[in-house]
């Protein structure tokens, strides 16, 4: 190849690379600027979506300009892109599915960064919503990557969607206790607890005649952010209140009845047996 042609090609390559590199930097800067400007104005979710859109749009523009610099015809490229997309689509079905699921999730917005989700056996805080997956941080500080497709297909629970939550405490009392008195004692404990919301009011219902206890459910509304502390403190308050009122919380026990058709139960007094041997 003649020397001058080589230098022309080199210049084009350099310019193309420059376009792509500069484009990448500009796109990154623009996306960061958008995040800064939209701070306190948009939700984290929308910030993320906006900044990603800005980045990919700008970067694609510069990338295509770079390709044009190398002599690629856009019409040919677009045609090729159609064919390529079919090929790529087959090759990367999972990624494409995750990508589309991610877009659906962004549009539906069932959770935001910072929300706490329960998904199968995992519970954690959403720390990132990306195009292919979301990242959860569990409370024991483990990162879990969940593909967007999984989120679209499975049921998950958003534990932090609403500002208030109800704590349901199941407390068993002995069969010989007065249920109405126990109910009043538990309700009083809840009504006087500083973390319990005044409205909606707490309530207490009988839920089951269990094997060893009559089960009562005390339901108390609390501020979502105080749920963990409130649950623990309420359980302590209920135990104290029941103890003060002299109401027994029974442990599982079994009553054995011996009828007249059975042989008498052999009973051995250990101390007496020892003395007898001596």
């Amino acid at each position: 190849m003649p020397e001058f042609l080589q230098s022309v090609a080199l210049v084009s390559w350099v310019r193309a690379v420059l376009f792509i590199v500069v484009g990448f930097i500009i796109a990154k800067l623009a996306s960061r600027l958008f995040r800064k400007l939209s701070d306190n104005k948009l939700s984290t979710h929308h910030q993320l979506l906006g900044s990603m859109l800005i980045f990919y749009l700008l970067f694609m523009l510069f990338f295509l300009s770079g390709l044009k610099e190398l002599g690629f015809s856009m019409s040919v490229l677009l045609g090729a892109a159609g064919v390529l997309s079919v090929a790529v689509g087959f090759a990367s079905q999972t990624s494409a599915s995750n990508l589309i699921s991610g877009l659906f999730l962004i549009a539906e917005k069932p959770f935001e960064v910072g929300d706490v989700l329960t998904l199968n056996e995992f519970t954690g805080e959403v720390i990132a919503i990306d195009l292919l997956s979301i990242k959860l941080r569990t409370f024991d500080n483990v990162m879990i990557r969940v593909p967007n497709e999984t989120l679209i297909k499975t049921t998950f629970v958003n534990l932090s969607r609403f500002p208030i939550r109800r704590v349901d405490l199941v407390i068993g009392i002995a069969y010989n206790e007065d249920i109405e008195v126990a109910r009043t004692v538990l309700l009083e404990a809840a009504l006087h607890h500083p973390r319990a919301l005044v409205n909606p009011e707490p309530f207490c219902i009988v839920t089951m005649f269990n094997a060893s206890s009559v089960d009562l459910q005390l339901s108390v509304w609390v501020v979502r952010t105080e749920l963990k502390d409130a649950k623990s403190e309420l359980l302590i308050a209920c135990k104290k209140a029941l103890d003060t009122a002299g109401i027994e919380i029974p442990f599982p026990h079994t009553s054995v009845y011996v009828g007249e058709h059975t042989k008498p139960l052999p009973i051995q007094l250990v101390e007496a047996a020892k003395k007898h041997k001596e």
């Binding site: 500002p163 973390r195 919301l197 005044v198 409205n199 509304w221």
Partner: protein, 265 residues
Amino acid sequence: MHIIDQPAQQELNLEEKQWYSMALGDLTLFFQQNGNELLTAVNYQSRDKPALREALRKIDDLPQGVKVGERLYSGPEEESVYIELQLADKPYQVNADTPIKLGPKGRVVLYVSTSLWVQLKTIDTQKVMTEYPAVIPRMSWVGSSSIEGALCYSAKTAAPSELSQVSRKEHRAITALEIVNDSSHSPLTIQRLSLPLNMLSLFYSESAGFWTESIRFRMDAETGETVIVTSQKPPDELGGCEKISTARDSKQSSRLRTAMKLIMG
């Protein structure tokens, strides 16, 4: 750093390394000037005596079990700090002991009292460095459902309709609420009211104690429409009251109307 004790506006200089205490309601607040920092500590204790407000006084040491809570620095250039009494930072849901029923075109004035807050503010920049409620408030939810509404504070009140029946406590501010039933046919039942305290100012006079602006609720029992009007001052019969702190949220007009959606809880 020095402290002005409001509402008397008495300026006090704290001695270095000397603990001081003041009390309001269940709250006892402790201060110590330690070089360029102001140490604070708090203690909450239910009091038997209903009216309680102790001015700043010297104490030997922090009581047993009370620990330093915060170390305050007012800024690069040592700026003076003062105590300001303020109303709550959220609306108060006031639950009447007994439901109140107002006949068609009926009108009643109720007096309700709510706990004050103590703020430490910088004099020049008027920035709140820290604040504590005189009594730890209970939280409540006001809204049409458990997913739509807002968190606010809650208090039970006898809501007397005679000024002479109002028990004046030194850690509480009284609000005069005029409720008017605009309906010509239906009676209006009131069980709870949401007071937008964060949008009200605090007034004081030696004889009357702490008051807020009077509020008038015009409610239509049939349509549920409510209009609220504040009178910009406490009731006239109290005489001259001095405004000692302005509303936390001064963008009153538009927000007050929004708050009104929450009125009937």
